[in-house]
């Protein structure tokens, strides 16, 4: 009797968990799942790819480089860094109506906003309007900004009609309402008492838009758009929207003149500047890569499923093991 009790005390648990007999799903790569799976994935991807490609093709997008590298461009005179407040004009033609709302972007190339030291050179606490940290930002802080300005004119019957730009709501809602806040001092200028404007800026923060207090200081929309660091060295940033008055349905075909206040020099680092007119769709801006990639992968899946079917039919090892 005693011996039996001792035996059962030492015997390990015989549950499913301790004896590793838990009920489980044991999938294996069988032909019945893989080959139809590949076919389904292939067909789905081809479908998605077609939708993306067609949508992307329907987006109209027009880029104009205005760096001024070529000597016959009007902006060449502005590449001389001694010229301050240089203004240059570019004439261009839009062949067909660009349907609205049209978005106007400025783009930079070879500009590394994703450089690590650039990224850490800001103090989020200061930018969120925290008065305590306002005058003593973190040591890494050394901001940069671009400040080209643009005005667009349409040439109608010999005279230039300005195309109205809408600069409201071009930055993310969360940036505007949560992340960046002005210090709670009116007038804003007083909050900056005792601070100095960053050396590379042409205007101090409290003068970014003196006409509109909701667009001044740290919550200036252009400032917010700029502060959203780009991931890659070639990027474009939203400047304005064209969606008002006569241009609500888009930019009609015709001749246009773009007047550029060229302030930001990029030649020193072989950068390029451009403006882009574009409309958007559910998939965002024009990007043919995704459509083509889906089509390619979808076709590859179909091809591989055929190959696997052939291999399976010919070489499957006898299952009557």
């Amino acid at each position: 009797m005693v011996k039996e009790e001792q035996e059962s005390a030492n015997r390990p648990d015989n549950t499913a968990f301790t004896q590793q007999r838990l009920p489980a799903w044991q999938p294996i790569l069988s032909a019945g799942i893989i080959i139809p799976g590949f076919v389904i994935i292939g067909l789905t991807f081809i479908g998605i790819g077609v939708a993306l490609f067609v949508t992307s093709k329907s987006i109209q997008d027009m880029e104009i480089d205005y760096t001024g590298v070529e000597t016959d461009s009007d902006c060449y005179k502005c590449t001389n860094t001694d010229e301050k407040n240089c203004v240059c004009r570019l004439d261009f033609n839009i062949p067909t109506l660009i349907e609205g709302p049209v978005f106007f972007y400025y783009g930079l190339s070879n500009y590394f906003q994703n450089y690590r030291r650039y990224g850490v050179s800001k103090d989020d606490t200061q930018l969120s309007g925290d008065l305590d940290n306002f005058k003593t930002p973190s040591d890494d802080c050394s901001p940069y900004e671009t400040d080209d300005t643009f005005v667009l004119y349409q040439n109608l019957n010999g005279s230039n009609q300005e195309v109205p730009f809408d600069g409201k709501g071009i930055a993310w809602w969360t940036d505007y309402n949560v992340k960046y806040r002005n210090p709670d001092v009116t007038p804003l200028k007083d909050a900056f008492e005792g601070t100095v404007k960053p050396p590379f800026w042409s205007k101090p923060a409290y003068e970014l838009d003196p006409t509109d207090p909701n667009n001044n200081g740290f919550i200036n929309q252009d400032f917010l758009v700029w502060m959203r660091r780009a991931a890659l060295p070639d990027f474009r940033k939203l400047y304005r929207r064209i969606s008002q008055d006569d241009y609500a349905r888009g930019l009609p075909a015709g001749n246009y003149t773009l007047q550029i206040g060229y302030n930001y020099p990029v030649m020193s680092f072989k950068g390029k500047k451009k403006v882009v007119f574009s409309n958007v769709s559910w998939m965002g801006g024009r990007n043919e890569f995704l459509g083509i990639a889906y089509l390619v992968i979808g076709s590859w899946c179909i091809v591989m499923s055929i190959v696997m079917l052939i291999v399976y039919a010919k070489f499957k090892f006898p299952e009557e093991d």
Partner: protein, 371 residues
């Protein structure tokens, strides 16, 4: 007693050795190797992406991912699924392991983790990292949200790349696991859910307002993950990382199946045709049985040993490395071809069902063309 106290493993009877080796040892080897391969894969993939990004960020050591993601990747998002796999994974269950001791051979030949396997794992990681960086790069280059606003910014790109990475490594883990218990499933799906929960919490207004400099990614989740092109990129990247692996494995199984593949297919067939064999109750020790070694009072196996029968190789060629069906099996079966020997006089040609193999072990001829 002293021997027991000073040993790593100790057990009381020699017959326990069979279970220790063929079941637990084998599973342990399998789990360790899968764990190692997967762990190297997920960390190499994670790291190589930074290498490719370096070309596009001026070699400034800018991280592709959010710093919180880097901290929590190995700690929270991929820790439990791997742990679950290392604890519970099995390729075949214990009864089948006893039936097919050839399954132990890959362990002896060091097949699952060697320099070659490591190199293949590194190559796989390299490929995945290329996909995980360049597909988001191309998808996001010069593109914008559906309302014209920015989506090609650094924070959205970081979120996109890290989500793609997590989906890809989780699906890869799903491919590695061959035994999905409820616990494993919970770990895998729970970790993914945890990723989204933690990410959205950290990118929320509340956290930012508490500590602005610690949570700079505020709003990124809300502004980029509601864009269809972001999700389509994630789908494309994950599938593209995983499909070549599936193809490669499937073709390998068809063209050069390993012993594990064969046994697993057999198991599947057996499950499909027969109900699982009932577990026989443990055969009680009767007084005519001894512990089998030192106290045998029966005739013993001397004649069998000297006849050399167990050294004989089969004359018939095999079709695929396995011969047989049923009775003429030469695989490891307890009541198999032992030439009718039995020290206790029990009949040897009982039906070869999955008998509880802790019965007194008879001679069996282990023959396999693979050896």
């Amino acid at each position: 007693m002293q021997a027991v106290l000073s040993s790593d493993y100790s057990f009381a009877q020699f017959r326990f050795l069979q279970r220790l080796l063929l079941v637990h040892g084998r599973w342990s080897y399998l789990r360790m190797c899968k764990f190692l391969r997967y762990f190297f894969y997920k960390n190499f993939t994670f790291t190589f992406v930074h290498f490719w990004f370096a070309f596009f960020c001026g070699f400034s050591a800018q991280t592709v991912y959010d710093e919180w993601f880097i901290t929590l990747y190995n700690l929270v998002y991929t820790a439990l699924p791997v742990l679950g796999m290392s604890l519970f994974d099995q390729d075949v269950n214990d009864a089948w392991s006893f039936q097919h001791p050839q399954l132990y051979v890959p362990g002896q030949l060091n097949l699952y983790f060697s320099k070659k396997a490591f190199f293949k794992c590194a190559l796989h990681s390299g490929y995945c990292s290329l996909v995980l960086f360049f597909i988001p790069y191309a998808a996001v280059h010069d593109t914008v949200r559906g309302d014209g606003k920015d989506v090609a910014d650094y924070q959205s790109f970081a979120l996109l790349t890290q989500t793609c990475l997590l989906f890809a490594v989780t699906i890869q883990l799903g491919l590695e696991m061959s035994y999905w218990t409820a616990v494993n499933t919970f770990f895998v799906l729970g970790s993914l859910a945890m990723y989204f929960a933690v990410t959205f919490t950290m990118y929320s207004d509340g956290m930012f307002l508490t500590l602005p400099s610690a949570f700079p990614f505020i709003g990124t989740g809300r502004n980029s993950l509601n864009q269809p092109n972001i999700w389509l990129t994630i789908l494309l990247t994950s599938i593209l990382c995983v499909l070549p692996v599936v193809t490669y494995r499937f073709l390998f199984i068809q063209l050069c199946p390993t012993i594990n593949d064969k046994v697993m297919f057999k198991v599947r067939q057996a499950k499909a045709t027969l109900p699982p064999p009932p577990r026989r109750p443990r055969i009680r020790r009767t007084s005519s049985r001894r512990s089998g070694y030192a106290f045998s009072h029966a005739q013993g196996y001397g004649d069998l040993v000297t006849s050399g029968r167990f050294l004989r190789r089969p004359a018939l060629p095999r079709s695929s490395g396995f011969a047989h069906a049923g009775r003429t099996t030469t695989s490891f079966s307890p009541m198999g071809r032992s030439a009718g020997y039995s020290p206790t006089g029990r009949p040897q040609n009982a039906k070869v069902a999955d008998v509880e193999v802790t019965s007194l072990q008879m001679y069996r001829t282990i023959q396999d063309a693979a050896l």
